[in-house]
């Protein structure tokens, strides 16, 4: 094939812009993955914390309110 015809297909700017688009997508994916990991860790931490609170509340009986009535012999 002649060099003239081949030169018609030469376009480094197009290759460069595709490469830059690819880099942007890669950065975006990385950010999304970091956000996802953070959300998952936060959910795990919160669940753990919540479960511990509930277990503590079950174990401590003094938390229930009760009233004691003293009968001072006023019958």
């Amino acid at each position: 094939m002649s060099s003239g015809r081949i030169a018609h297909h030469r376009n480094y700017d197009e290759v460069l812009s595709r490469h830059e688009r690819h880099l942007k997508m890669k950065r975006l994916m990385r950010i999304l993955i970091y956000i996802l990991i953070t959300v998952v860790l936060v959910v795990i931490f919160l669940s753990f914390f919540l479960v511990r609170r509930l277990e503590q509340q079950k174990r401590e009986p003094g938390n229930t309110t009760s009233s004691v009535v003293y009968n001072q012999g006023k019958n």
């Binding site: 376009n11 480094y12 290759v15």
Partner: protein
């Protein structure tokens, strides 16, 4: 390639890792060769342009992973191009095409034999069409792209002895059928 040229290329690669625009120099240098290499295996101009663009894009994306392995940088480009062509044929489930330029075949014959005629050229072209793909690949790289066996083995991912064997077998057949002696120009 001389040591100076290799050093020069290495410097361009280092710059390209920091600034992709610098890779344009290597793009301009090798575009024609890679284009022709792919065109010979597709015989389709638009497809070749796509695959060629894809080859340089992949090279650009993987520049960080490139390391010198005793073969020129161009061999890495040819390897990527070869893989892209193979990928295309696997996806398209089409039969492979090898487009051999008649003028290049004539040059080869003129090298190897003083008494040749048009009939021999045509017979040789027919004969080349009947060769298996793996032999044609090696012949194309050896005689049309002027690659040595080390580069051919790197590009096609075969052993150096495998590349030599395929070449010698094809040349042996040529010698027997056409009484052609293809000269090597010292590239081993």
């Amino acid at each position: 390639m001389s040591d100076d040229e290799i050093q020069q290329e290495f410097k361009i690669l280092e710059r390209s890792r920091r600034n992709p625009r610098a890779f344009g120099e290597l793009y301009e240098k090798y575009f024609d060769r890679i284009f022709n290499f792919i065109y010979r295996q597709t015989d389709d101009e638009d497809l070749t342009a796509d695959l060629c663009s894809q080859t340089f894009l992949i090279a650009l994306k993987n520049l960080g992973r490139y390391e010198f392995r005793g073969v020129p940088f161009s061999a890495w480009l040819y390897k990527i191009a070869s893989n892209e062509v193979n990928k295309h044929y696997r996806k398209a489930k089409q039969e492979r095409v090898f487009s051999i330029e008649e003028v290049r075949v004539r040059e080869l014959i003129e090298q190897g034999s003083d008494d040749w005629d048009e009939e021999i050229v045509q017979r040789l072209l027919q004969y080349l069409k009947s060769l298996p793909t793996d032999m044609l690949e090696v012949l194309e790289l050896r005689f049309f792209e002027d690659k040595d066996f080390k580069e051919i083995s790197f590009i096609l991912d075969i052993t150096e002895s495998g590349a030599k064997m395929r070449t010698y077998r094809a040349l042996d057949r040529l010698r027997k059928n056409f009484n052609l002696q293809i000269k090597y120009d010292g590239k081993e």
